[in-house]
Symmetry: C2
Subunit: 216 residues, 2 copies
């Protein structure tokens, strides 16, 4: 085992200065986000998306949709949130949005993951990027609000485009989608309106369990 | 066929205003980048990476390594280049870096793809994002130079970390890697130095064909 590990090429074999080596070690470590599978399909329903490509997609959503924020925002900061928001899943895994109990336990795992991952960077960069990740999680600044709305909008739009395939597979109800998402997505009214239209369409199409149906 | 197409959920079913509908149509269309496979392995060698997750990774590289640029730069503009640089592959496909003839033919295909894809957006956004993509391709501004260096560095680092697996599979030589990459990567000297160290390591390890070997 020791020999195998020694034989495996590593950034430290390049004898770089400590700062550059730390930067590359962080970048190589976060590559693992490409292997974290989400519960959402790609827009064409071909397969589940992973958290790295999702993060790319969310960053582009931010750039294109930022004008809908009701408050003036630093768009570039929101793009950084999009790029960083899921990297803790490398250690903590992806938790299904509708698994409320699982999500509560997830908070501590994600914090521990952030402690480990950001610490790989030189201290100044570690502090800066951790601050941006913490801001995303707190969801209180206008920037973090937009990032969180878009992080909800994209999977809901994919569920819509795939005929509610994942909602049907998990037996998700209208009430679950409303309760869990609207308090977030209404923070950016034009995007919250898209979510409301999708929920209405999905309820009418029978893609979500109807909580008020008498035969329930 | 007409019925099947009509039954498939589409952004236009949501009756949004034209601008928001155009924005979402662009974002849904570029989702296809998740299905474009590159010639580079993930850092752990588990599978080939796709161009969407590669773009996310490159954007993070930019954020972390921007300080090595020899000129002052607008880092956020370079991050946008990273997010956008490969979307033309949705129509034009990924071309292997060492396929010189294929890359010449690729230029026209990529331009046609950019014409189609950026035109999905409202005109102001289309113009702005196309300008950023054109700047990346021209590789003349300090921002575009850094983006292009990083777009070369990441796959070279993955080839290093996987023991040259892709170079060996394609019979790539030391001279090919040098000729195709160094004129680009030397634009940011500390990162060009990483590439030179990797080439020296790979040549010594036999992961690249030795052009000067007598038995060649």
């Amino acid at each position: 085992m020791a020999d195998a590990a020694a034989a495996s090429p590593n950034v430290s074999d390049l004898n770089l200065d400590a700062r550059l080596e730390a930067q590359l070690r962080f970048l190589v470590t976060v590559d693992a986000l490409k292997h974290v599978e989400r519960r959402t399909l790609t827009a064409d329903g071909r397969r589940l998306e992973n958290s790295a490509e999702h993060s790319w997609h969310i960053a582009l959503y931010v750039r294109v949709l930022a004008e809908h924020s009701p408050e003036p925002i630093d768009v570039d900061r929101v793009i950084l949130m999009a790029l960083l928001h899921d990297i803790v899943e490398i250690d903590a895994g992806d938790t299904f949005l509708y698994d409320v109990a699982g999500r509560a336990a997830q908070v501590e795992r994600e914090r521990a993951a952030a402690d480990r991952l950001f610490a790989l960077l030189p201290l100044d960069q570690s502090t800066l990027l951790r601050t941006i990740w913490d801001e995303f999680c707190a969801a209180e600044s206008p920037e973090a609000r937009l990032a969180n709305v878009i992080d909800r909008l994209q999977p809901i739009l994919h569920n819509f485009l795939t005929g509610g395939e994942r909602w049907l597979a998990h037996g998700i109800s209208v009430e679950q989608v409303r309760t869990i998402n609207l308090p977030v997505t209404d923070g950016v009214p034009p995007l919250g309106d898209v979510v409301r239209r999708i929920i209405a369409h999905a309820a009418a199409a029978g893609w979500l369990v109807d909580d008020d149906a008498p035969e329930r």
